[in-house]
Symmetry: C2
Subunit: 208 residues, 2 copies
DNA sequence: AAACTTACTGAACACTGTTCAGTAAAACAA
DNA sequence: TTGTTTTACTGAACAGTGTTCAGTAAGTTT
């Protein structure tokens, strides 16, 4: 049985090796400039080898997408410990914005680029692949629900309130990541302050 | 002088021909699946011909991006006529959302895809290319400023308020266009209603 | 009519994602 | 130990992409 175990370990190690190289290059050069050929070259294998471990490029990037969500969820743990749901909501927003500013490539892959979504759709029956995104959304939803129950915010519908909260914050960071604030001519630091100030203001508006 | 005029017209017609074919195929198949070779085939010229009229693919799509903004600005004219700035703000939001839902490919190109931004950056001195985006933002900014002046909304800083308003609405539609609402399992109609309801709620929160 | 310019092209270049027949090495069975 | 089967990997091919360039035919100018 030792041979089968060793082969299983070898397989997992190879999978991880490809994933690490891909992640490294993706963070370095961005999605558009990370090719399977360049990843293969980095690990000193043929491009065809990658297809023994991943169905296609989309599936490989889906795995990186999942790493990004695990990172985000880990950061969200801190917010999860805050008792006051309104403070928690605010903290969730801040962590989300800081995560996006610190990890723009991950954020892009998690919330904008279509590749991981394509890969998840192909695994129709596999509900697991959506669970990371759902976990993040559930934390927000739960927090918003508690805010509503304790009458800390004006909104009554938790789904709608979760939606515009997420959208607002996503809009803030995604317009930055896709370079659409250039019309405003701000430095990075000015922009960062403005994003956090916008969040503050939004939370202020939501407050009952 | 007739020859020079005729050659100028010919050049403009060729430019328009390429742009129309590109726009048609882009709206039909989306950005990812619209290649210069396929555009060239449609107009029955060689791919190399396109480079006589456009610097590269990014510049061609920048021209389509501009058409999208012209369309959006035209739709915004209706909102421009509303005297009450808060009602106008609400209408601007609605028009923005409806535009995105009706023209997802244009919206994607205008606010998410990097190609047009790359092309505009290359024309550093040419401030004209940013003016369409700025015009849209200026209408929002002006409306928000009037709301603040007339104490119709709580916010005091027009830049911040414009920013989170734009971001919120952009977030709503861009998460849809990039298929990130699938975690929520909603039909298109349910989603559309929810987007508009979120906008209503946001405006409600903003109200003084 | 000769010379020059312009608009266009086919082919090339360098790259991409993906597949497949072939092969060497590992594992298995006798 | 040997023969057979399986596995992991590869080089090459396929079909496609954006972009450039030397060559050419037609139009324009002298």
């Amino acid at each position: 049985m030792g041979i089968a175990e060793r082969k299983g370990r070898d397989k997992q190690e190879m999978y991880d090796k490809i994933l690490r190289a891909a992640t490294y290059m993706f963070l370095e050069d961005g999605y558009e400039k990370t090719s399977l050929r360049s990843i293969a070259e980095k690990i000193e294998y043929s491009p065809a080898t990658i297809y023994l471990y991943f169905k296609d490029k989309d599936e490989l990037f889906c795995a990186i997408h999942d790493i990004g969500f695990q990172m985000l969820l880990k950061e969200m743990e801190a917010a999860g410990k805050i008792k006051n749901p309104l403070k928690r909501l605010h903290e969730i927003g801040k962590i989300y914005i800081e995560f996006a500013l610190k990890n723009p490539e991950y954020y892009d892959l998690m919330f904008i680029i279509r590749a991981p979504i394509n890969a998840m759709r192909e695994k129709q029956g596999d509900q697991n692949c959506w669970e990371l995104g759902q976990a993040t959304f559930m934390l927000l939803m739960q927090t918003v629900t508690e805010c509503i129950e304790q009458k800390l915010i004006k909104s009554k519908d938790p789904v709608v309130a979760s939606m515009y909260t997420w959208s607002a914050v996503h809009g803030l960071v995604s317009l930055k990541i896709r370079d659409r604030y250039e019309v405003m001519n701000l430095t990075d630091e000015q922009l960062r302050k403005m994003l956090l100030q916008s969040l503050d203001e939004l939370i202020g508006l939501m407050k009952a």
